[in-house]
Symmetry: C2
Subunit: 197 residues, 2 copies
């Protein structure tokens, strides 16, 4: 078993073999983990929120169900979830344009840049930007389709276990959002536990 | 004013100038229109469902609100809607893998291929596949985030008017889905009305 620490506001990636599982752990609680998976052999195939919703006929899979790729093949199965089970798969990764729009002057860390850097470190500088699996993120869907932006309710040590269904790169960004309250105003670290096959 | 007929099960695209509007018309009623917009100068920028949801804090924009790109810039404004206002922005375009999964043997027309052909005809063979704006598509979000697949409630002649906020390519696919009931079991044509500037 290997632990990869994802410092607050940063991202890390790891290659995961088919059949191997990763646990994404909210170390201190209340922290969103933007999670991505790309097929190792060809990163133009990657987990797809819109294909996953269509395949499971839900906004988010339940334990036992899989996230599928843009070619509708299972890439990660949601094996276990010790958190309150509140996750988002509706919102884009935060990006430089998001922070500019929120009034930030100058550079601000973002999940998109964290993803790009983590994939470049894995030798994959040329990727599309998928819509993330936003673990622990609390975006309630209200009447008339209105979305809320609420603090993550996950507790310290809460974890989601994902099993790779193909050889893939898994990237996790400890979301640096500190303007809207999704991270309780205080971005904190995430840990990736790579379980032995 | 120019009318582009989109035959049942096919797709068509058109270049639209900034400030110009298009009306997407459900000719016979009860038909889904998968709609896409790409920035003309650089098609790696395109309408993004996940960025639009985040910017408008809703599952689908209201009249007066805009669909934004993957760089969070407005590309199409939803100007007017004479339909019952039921549209989807959660589900991927149907694709060959969708029909294989539904048990279809051999080729079946799909919105993804329709998009690819329409963009190739506009001189743009190399595109990412965005999550579509599924006009007239009825995917209710039920308790616990469950999604329904219901017949489109649009009537003959119902139309959505979209104003381009930048020079762009707009593609519409008259969805060929005839297995799940979203098109009332009978795919029919769509029309694109390109209004004069």
């Amino acid at each position: 078993m290997t632990i990869i620490e994802v410092p607050a506001r940063e991202g890390r990636g790891v290659r995961v073999a088919a059949g191997q599982s990763v646990r994404v752990i909210d170390v201190d609680g209340g922290q969103v983990a933007d999670t991505f998976a790309f097929r190792a052999e060809d990163v133009s195939e990657y987990h797809s929120a819109e294909h996953t919703r269509a395949v499971v006929s839900r906004l988010f899979p339940r334990p036992g169900e899989a996230f599928v790729t843009n070619h509708r093949r299972p890439i990660l199965t949601l094996v276990d979830d010790t958190s309150p089970g509140i996750h988002d798969m509706l919102c884009a990764a935060c990006d430089p344009e998001r922070y500019t729009g929120l009034g930030v002057a100058g550079w601000h860390a973002s999940c998109r840049e964290n993803l790009e850097h983590a994939m470049a470190a894995l030798g994959q500088p040329d990727i599309e930007i998928p819509q993330p699996i936003n673990l622990f993120m609390n975006i309630p869907v209200r009447a008339e389709g209105e979305l809320g932006w609420e603090p993550a309710p996950s507790r310290a040590g809460d974890a989601v276990t994902l099993r790779a269904e193909m050889d893939c790169f898994v990237v996790v960004s400890a979301c640096p959002q500190d303007i809207v309250p999704i991270n309780n105003g205080n971005p904190t670290p995430i840990a990736i536990e790579l379980l032995d096959l």
